[in-house]
Symmetry: C2
C-alpha cells in the first residue's frame, strides 16, 4: 500500500507540473518569447558560457537572464556587469531544481513583452533539474572536460532531456583523460538527436556555433 | 493553509529520517563500525580518491565500500578491480540522494561484523545529499579545482555539514583561476571546524593525510 501511495503522489506532482509547463510554453509561444533552460553540474562554466553567448547575441535580439541559485547573487551580478543585459537572481531556498511554477514566478519579474529570449540558468545539479519540466522551449546542458566523458552513462535522464550538449573547457583536454568522440557516442546512446558542441568558454572558441544555433531556434519559435 | 501543510510534510519527513539516522549511528557504534559518507559533484574524483585511500588503509583495517548511483555499476566494479575490497553498488532508481533507511538497506548487504569501516560514496550532487542525514559517523566532501573556489558560497549547506573537505585535482591548479587560501576561507565561513586537505587523487599527493585522519577517526570510534 505504501509503495502505491508514494507512486501516486509522485505521478500527481509530475502530472501537475507537466500541465503547468505546457501552459507556460503556450503563453511563451503566443508572446514570441523563447525560453532556454541551461543545466549542468556546479562549476562546469554555465555563467562564463552565458556571458560569451549573450555578448554574441545582444545586438541581434532582445534578451534577459534568470539565474537560479540556492543562495548568493554572485552570478546575476557577474552577468549584468559583463554584458549589460537584464539579469535577475532566483533564490530557490534550498530547493535543488526549478519547476514550471517557480520558473513562472521568475518570468513575472522580467519584461516579457520587450524580449525575444530568456535564458534560465538552472541550479547546478545533474539529477533533479532533469526531472522537472520548467516550461522551457529547449533544454541545453554543459558537461565540462574535467568531469569526465562517462557522465552520460551515470546521469542518463539529464542527457536524454537535452537538445544540445556543450562540452566545455576543451582547453584542458590535454590534462584529462577525456575522449570527445567517446563522449559524443555516450550522449547519443541517451539521445540520438542531441547536438554536441565542443566549446571553450574561457577563450570563446566554439561559442559562436552555439550562439548561431540558439539564434536560429529563437527565430523559428517567433514564426 | 497549503503552505503550512507543505512545511509539516517536510518536517515530518526530516524528523523521521533524523530518528532513523540516529538509530543507525547507535547500532554502528555498538558494532564498532565507522561509516563515512563521501559526497561531491559529478566528476570531482570520488572514485579515484577512494581507490587511493583504500589501498593505503586495507592492510590496517577491514573495510568495504557502497557505491550509490542512479544507474550503472561502473564505480563498484572499478573499486573492486583496483583494490580487491568488497564493493557493492546501490541503485537509487533516479533518487538524487540517500537517506538513513536507504543506507541501512545497503548496510544489510555487507558483512558488518567483519568490518571496521564502511565508506558510502553518495550520489554526485552538491544539493540534496547534504539535506539527508545518512546515519554516517562523519561527512566528507570533495571539491575539485576545475569546479571553482566559490562553491562554498553557492552550496552553503553541503559545506556546513562536512567535517572534512578534500580539494582535489591540485595538479591542474596552474590552468584554473582557483585560489586555495580563498577557498579555505570560504569553507570556514560555512563551517569553522572543517578540515581542508588539498589532494591530487591522480598522483596520490596528499591522500595519505586524509587516510591518516580517517584511520584516527575509525580507531577513536571503536573505543
Amino acid at each position: 500500500m505504501d509503495e502505491v501511495k508514494v507512486i501516486e503522489i509522485k505521478k500527481s506532482v509530475f502530472a501537475d507540473n507537466a500541465l503547468d509547463a505546457d501552459a507556460l510554453r503556450r503563453e511563451l509561444k503566443e508572446k514570441g518569447v523563447f525560453l532556454l533552460n541551461l543545466m549542468s553540474s556546479p562549476g562546469s562554466g554555465k555563467t562564463t558560457t552565458l556571458i560569451r553567448t549573450i555578448n554574441l547575441l545582444k545586438d541581434k535580439i532582445r534578451l534577459a537572464v534568470m539565474e537560479a541559485d540556492i543562495d548568493s547573487d554572485v552570478d546575476a551580478v557577474k552577468i549584468r556587469e559583463a554584458t549589460g543585459v537584464e539579469s535577475i537572481q532566483l533564490h530557490t531556498g534550498g530547493m535543488c531544481h526549478l519547476d514550471a511554477e517557480m520558473t513562472r514566478q521568475g518570468l513575472d519579474n522580467v519584461p516579457l513583452d520587450a524580449l525575444d529570449l530568456v535564458i534560465l540558468e538552472n541550479v547546478g545539479n545533474l539529477v533533479c533539474p532533469a526531472e522537472f519540466d520548467t516550461g522551457s522551449c529547449c533544454n541545453a546542458m554543459i558537461l565540462s572536460v574535467p568531469e569526465g566523458d562517462d557522465k552520460p552513462l551515470k546521469y542518463p535522464l539529464m542527457f536524454s532531456v537535452c537538445d544540445v550538449v556543450l562540452i566545455n573547457k576543451t582547453d584542458v583536454l590535454p590534462y584529462f583523460d577525456f575522449d570527445l568522440e567517446r563522449c559524443e557516442r555516450y550522449v547519443h546512446m541517451r539521445n540520438p538527436k542531441a547536438r554536441v558542441i565542443p566549446i571553450c568558454a574561457k577563450t570563446g572558441e566554439g561559442v559562436e556555433v552555439f550562439a548561431e544555433w540558439l539564434l536560429g531556434e529563437v527565430r523559428q519559435w517567433k514564426q
